[in-house]
């Protein structure tokens, strides 16, 4: 539905370079990247609020690279919502209809509909300055959606919120999209947010798109160490592929050999997910081909599990339940065995 080709914009602090994107009808598409990487400018380019130096944007095959924003029929919600402070909630929501010269009765009808959808009937005459973060977000969404835009652009819509509210509103966004099916581009720096909402994710780094794909795909198979680190992958190491008969290993710098299944050769990165590693006091005799002895050097409480750091020559992060920790009596300094399958090692 939206095709972006070679979009480039040079700015003072950073550049947007050669962006290619292909977003499907009704898709919830998340662009994920660290702050200060030009994500907002990319949205503004799509909206027509900023002119690209090069490249083209197509909606349904029609080119609109040169079209002014008011003729693109988009909805945009900024991070801090940008409600018009001199208008009340109702006037904010109907702004898009007024500037289009929509008649009063028709405006009222559209208002009623959108207001019911967002359950904000009680806010209509309120001053926007006294709204909570969640209410502001709903009003901003209502204002953007009342004109039935072809595409909804969301600029970090959740990052200004407290953790509690955030989760609630994330659910709301998901429901909303399931209901209206408006094609949505959502930008964020929070991987969990992307994971919870996205049909597909594009990862942006230094003004470039470095990986695009389904959320699980990106999490499980990052294509670069930047993506791996950014999405919070633990246990990422670099080493060289060794072939010993049938078996393949990656040898790390310190000589540690990890059994893997791969067709790659030479220098590679590898990832072992913390939840794929087993801890035991005795060597674990099983089909798993990687078993190392190490010392527990750190124990950290996480929200719903415990994170162990085990030094097996390299520091390996392992997740276990608080229950197991207690049962096994694991403390700092104890020696344990870590076991994981060769097929659980992702090589790239």
């Amino acid at each position: 539905m939206i095709k972006i080709h070679g979009l480039t914009k040079r700015l003072k602090d950073f550049n947007i370079e050669d962006i290619d994107l292909d977003i499907k009808e009704k898709e919830y598409f998340v662009i994920l990247g660290p702050t200060g990487t030009g994500k907002t400018v990319l949205l503004e380019l799509i909206a027509g609020l900023v002119c690209p130096d090069r490249g083209n944007i197509f909606f349904n095959g029609e080119e609109l690279t040169e079209l002014p924003p008011e003729e693109r029929n988009i909805g945009m919600v900024y991070q801090d919502y940008m409600l018009f402070p001199h208008l009340n909630v109702k006037e904010n929501i109907t702004f898009g209809l007024k500037v289009r010269g929509v008649k009063r009765e028709e405006r009222e009808r559209a208002l009623k509909k959108i207001v019911r959808l967002f359950r904000i009937e009680h806010l209509l005459t309120r001053d926007v300055k006294n709204l909570s973060g969640g209410e502001q977000q709903r009003v901003a969404l209502a204002r953007a959606l009342i004109t039935a835009p072809r595409i909804l652009l969301l600029d970090e819509p959740l990052s200004a919120l407290d953790p509690g509210t955030k989760e609630q509103l994330q659910e709301n966004l998901k429901e909303l999209h399931e209901r209206l099916e408006t094609t949505t581009i959502h930008i964020t720096h929070d991987f969990n947010e992307a994971l919870a909402l996205a049909d597909r994710i594009a990862i942006m780094h230094n003004g470039k798109i470095v990986q695009t794909g389904k959320p699980e795909g990106i999490f499980k198979q990052p294509n670069s160490s930047f993506v791996a680190e950014f999405v919070g992958v633990k246990n990422i190491f670099r080493g060289r592929v060794l072939v010993e008969g049938e078996d393949k290993y990656v040898e790390l710098n310190n000589g540690l050999k990890i059994a893997v299944i791969t067709d790659r050769e030479g220098w590679v990165n590898l990832i072992v997910r913390p939840e794929d590693i087993f801890i035991s006091y005795e060597p674990f005799l099983s089909s798993a081909r990687n078993c190392f002895s190490g010392e527990v050097v750190n124990i950290r409480n996480r929200l719903s599990m415990v994170e162990l750091t085990v030094d097996i020559g390299v520091e390996l992060i392992v997740y276990i339940t608080g229950h197991s920790l207690k049962e096994m009596g694991i403390t700092r300094g104890k020696r344990v065995f870590v076991t994981f399958k060769a097929s659980a090692v992702h090589v790239f």
């Binding site: 027509g48 609020l49 018009f84 500037v99 289009r100 204002r143």
Partner: protein
Amino acid sequence: MIKRAWFQFIFSLLAVLMLIFIAAPIIRLVTGSSPEVIISTVKEKEVYSSILLTFKASLVATLISLLLGIPLAYLLARVDFPGKVLIEGVIDLPVIIPHTAVGIALLMVFGRRFWAGRIFSYLGVDFIGEFNGIVLAMMFVSLPFLVNEVKEGFRGIDIKLERVARSLGASPAQAFFRVALPLNKEHILSGSLMMWARGLSEFGAVVIMAYHPMTAPVLIFERFTSFGLKYSSPVAAIMVLTSLLVFIALRLFNGKEKGIKDD
């Protein structure tokens, strides 16, 4: 503890000296003439008509500057172009040019010796010794107050508000008239007020453009040079009192001052 107190004491003392330097002459001027003298002076036609003339001329200057100055302020706040710093410098020039030189410069352009003045004269608009000339002089010296204040106001409005308006279907004109302009109302009002008050105060540029009809500052000067301090001070007191009253009244009407920042 003693060192701390010492620092704060010296600091406050210097600040208070500065305030006294400003306030004392004004208070002395306003209280220096007896109420009877003031009342009888107000009743002189020459006095009250000169005050009215001053107010009116400055008001007209402000209105013209609003029309021309708001677009300029908006463009400076929103558009980047080469030479912008230069143009911002040009807007400050009226503050630094000697007032009598301003009068001379305006005479050279709007007098009949120059083509611009001749064109206006041909259209029936004369400046020298006329109300129009007073307006020009007041406008020239006071417009930086309006333009700079309005520019700062536009700068303080998040550009994303206008961008949201555009995304919602507003044309550039609609985004300006429905979002930027109403949000800048306070700065426009306070800038206009400052400009109007600054216009009232002008003497050097006005006296060269038009000794007659006599504005209040010119009248004060004339009475001072012709009759001395004693006869000029009641007129000065009346002018200061009236402009103070109008200024305070408008400020109160305008609502609160630009809010004191929270720290």
